[in-house]
Symmetry: D2
């Protein structure tokens, strides 16, 4: 009897339903649940009217305390955008034992592979020399490799060791690198168990040939990498920025890059798209990327699969296993905005 | 007594002494051996006159049977260029129990890292989108990632599984890929022991999303990848060419690329430098690289270190451990030429 | 001012304070918190009197709804025994946003290493042949290895893939085994992402040369391995039992072992210590172990370190990172009892 | 035409034909080669008469210079026993460009798994406590684990880093151990590239909680581990002996073990089988093993497969890939004798 299937309210905006659910996943969702599709039939009054009967909300709609108060059946809010916005009264949700789930892990592998690609690119000048050859350079073999370095055996620094850091760290395993990490939310044992040296921000920067900036934006991390910190990077260092622009002072970064003593690959920018008059466009020691590290088809579709897996588990009285369970202590701290 | 130190004849051309020996390595060599430096003091008559007293030759000079015949003390010829040329009478050398050593392993890590970088680049459009953004595109986030794919979980094909393949395979371990390999010089057990599926060339091509061409040039491998083989590649496949241009029919490769159904990253070319009128310059689905996969400073200097290590071992009556011992069966088959 | 340090109530029974805290850890705990030590000064009335002011409880004391109701400051209950007993009103705790933390991960590495040791022992007859040689056997070399098998390349089955399974699976990585797992609490994607084949219990048993029983005792898993299931094991299979005796029908297991077509290593028993008249004592194809897989000094002391790390994080307003956050859906299901 | 198939002389004694060749492997050998089976039809005169026509000898028969002198067609001698005996005139063979191949790699995985098993056994007292429980001990849980230690994170020493060491080192990868190795035949770079700290024998012993003795017996390594060296082992160390008895002074080892400050697992003995009055039998801190680390069915049968693979490669003019190519510098140094 369809009527007994738990009610799922689907309201994925600004995410898109068909970007995250394959037809097969949508079919699977509809087979197991009664799905009210707010994207196909946008009717917000209807959404809030049904909320008291809902088993789960898939999306990141406004859910203030009043809206949540009557949601007696609600077991879970499944965020499918990637960032926790302040439009949900999380303390109320937690007090009601509502699971708040995030999809950040869906992007982790895509970002990790992209980060490794960027690091290897600036280690070897791949994008730069494709440009140069196309522009007429006849340099070949060792003619354009004087500043090339191996990743193998290098010293590597991680600014932040969350989902992205862990996914990337797995990819570095065969390179026999020495990794230092700075993450003020983690005890040292998490890092040392992973074979990583816990370090201050200063040491992480000053001792690393490769630095990956993977930190989340919070009030505490705003301009974490300011001029003073950026100056600690050793000459010839390679910096990969893929998390949030807010953690870096871009003027200071530009100044150091313009001096020619650094290589960088940058995927996030204070203003996006990158303005046509950005001075970074004049630099040859930078790979310019337009916020494309995570948002690839496989990552998006994995969100739909994770939603189906975890909804089915929770409907069976089991804990979710694939999406990330939001920490009450952190969910209000993030300062990310939706992108795109 | 310096006179009792074994005699080493150093004649590295077309390689350069100071590209492969750090000052420390050169010092180490001179401390353990009497070194006659033919690069610093080019005197070929002197070289051949001293050959009968030499313990080892470091380089790839002409050594015909007559020259070798009198070399009673000769224990080793240490090739420091990377290719075995036909200017040495190898059978005579082997019959005299002269070790013939190659330095191909010195480049393996550099080529492996570069190959992975190229594969990830064309999986994600990194070089292409750096171009596009600099040229004015405002596409961002998922606006330019529709054809992006993960390496994780992909099917991968290796054409050739020698030094380069093994070094690259190690780097792929964290990606949980399914690897097929075609290598007619290897028994299946070598591949299956490494967790690789032995396959025909046809299957390797038709079943792989990523294909790495790593085969050595021999008479048998000339145009191994001809039009018929290239057509087996599935639409959307990513091809990385880093070994030898002779194994690929570039006209056929161009035709397939021009159709838009393939992405490629190419480091070796039939004519180098790449001619200014090469049609490949007009393709946006190709990363163009100018024979720069292996020849980086760390790779070159590792040759000098390997030479010192193995000469010291052999002087102590022990087998070499770091350079590659040439196989009598293969040394005459290679058809590589020096580069640069 | 010491008075402002958060109040921690330490009541570890049946665990022992000095078995889990090194002197350094205890010092660290006392420096950061006001610690009331109920083991040193057992006064339960005092414990419950102080509960309303407590920041955290370290231990597994009785905490019914009434006791918890007044505990306004309580942020966490840190179980240091390893099993969640039904003496805590978990729903009330969760509604109060009290973190309920477990220490099961502290034992995972110890159990994983022990499980691997047991598997390799019965693969090779190590304990049996030590006995035999001491008893006078002169069999040597291949004289006692006819039934020896490699773990490398073998088919392996996991019954349960929680903390223990994951820790053990990491140790199996270099053996190139094919792993099947049965875990009804997990979606297939968790297993396939780990490179494991999701399987029914029947398939896991019938296809595996090595079977590791790692399942938790719940009402659903009682005698999960009954006679019918045990008979599915292929002849010559090796079975390692290290989780909970309740999941296996020992009479059926004995019968199969007595037939000589199985090898087993058993660490848990329906009655402990193993009775002197247990028929298992008469079997030579069994390694007998007395519930010693997890409880080693390093595992116990890691609990104290985890407690300190997570208490400090929570006192700083951050989520715990090292102990396991209890799932509301599962915490009431376990049917384990304290051991020892 | 059968007559054109290359001639292979099969004379495996003291190895046994059907211990190393499965029926399928023997069939494969006979399909590709004309096989004269000296085990089935022992006729040594016939063997030497046919030698001048032989393409390969499979076995380790006497081959002095005179016998080899006329063997114009001989390409390879495939040792299938595991040790190179001094009954072959190796210099003559090498001068004739005859490949001398060994099968030591066939045993490496079996010995590596066994060594790991022994190390974990003495780390945790598995064999000892099986004895004790069967003998009536009721110790359980932490009652018998006071001296148990984890392998994870431990310091490990390798005495010798050849085939066995490399196979074992691969198995240790997930344990995050710090490895030191002493191997006078290797340059440091081989060890550091593998992530191992090159060390003197003294340091390897004094700094390691686990020591694996994997060295080959040579005149130089006789009683390498004498009383002075054994005394360097830290109290509580675990020693695994699996290579050759000749490298250890067993009286000194016994003395240290009798003091109770060491745990050992011993697979090789100065006299085998272990004499009934050996004092080692009285020790409870030793696992006694009767030279059974390598000789298991899968290892033996892999020899036959390797022989087939390499003979087929060599018949096709390609180098062997699976058996180990004997180093002229070393083949005369070994002092091992056949076992069993």
């Amino acid at each position: 009897m369809a009527a007994t299937r738990p009610l799922v309210l689907l309201k994925p905006a600004p995410q898109l339903r068909d970007r995250i659910f394959t037809p097969a996943a949508l079919e699977r969702l509809r087979n197991a649940f009664t799905v009210i599709d707010n994207e196909a039939h946008p009717d917000d009054a209807d959404f809030y009217r049904r909320l008291p009967d809902a088993f789960a909300v898939v999306g990141q709609p406004d859910l203030n305390g009043a809206a949540l108060a009557g949601a007696d059946q609600l077991r879970a809010i499944l965020n499918v955008e990637g960032n926790f916005f302040p439009n949900v009264d999380y303390p109320v949700a937690f007090a009601l034992n509502v699971r708040v789930l995030g999809c950040g892990t869906a992007y982790a592998q895509a970002v990790a592979e992209y980060s490794l690609a960027l690091a290897l690119d600036i280690a070897r000048g791949i994008t730069r020399e494709d440009h140069n050859t196309r522009a007429g350079s006849t340099a070949m073999v060792s003619g354009s490799t004087a500043d090339s370095i191996l990743l193998r055996g290098a010293s590597v620094g991680f600014i932040g060791f969350g989902n992205l850091g862990r996914a990337l760290h797995r990819l570095l395993a065969p390179f026999q690198v020495t990794v230092r990490a700075y993450d003020p939310w983690l005890p040292d044992a998490i890092l040392t168990d992973a074979g990583i040296i816990p370090a201050t921000l200063e040491h992480t920067l000053s001792e690393s040939q490769f630095v990956f900036v993977l930190a989340t934006a919070t009030p505490d991390s705003a301009h974490l990498l300011d001029a003073e910190m950026i100056d600690l990077l050793p000459d010839g260092a390679r910096v990969v920025l893929v998390s949030r622009a807010a953690v870096v002072d871009y003027d200071a970064l530009y100044a150091r890059l313009a001096s020619g003593t650094l290589h960088a690959a940058i995927d996030v920018w204070p203003v996006e798209p990158l303005p046509s008059d950005s001075p970074f466009r004049g630099l040859t020691n930078v790979v310019i990327s337009a916020h494309r590290a995570g948002g690839i088809p496989q990552a998006f579709f994995s969100i739909g699969d994770m939603v189906c897996d975890d909804l089915e588990l929770m409907a069976a009285g089991l804990p979710p296993q694939r999406m990330q369970i939001a920490a009450p202590e952190l969910v209000g701290r993030y300062r990310n905005r939706p992108v795109g």
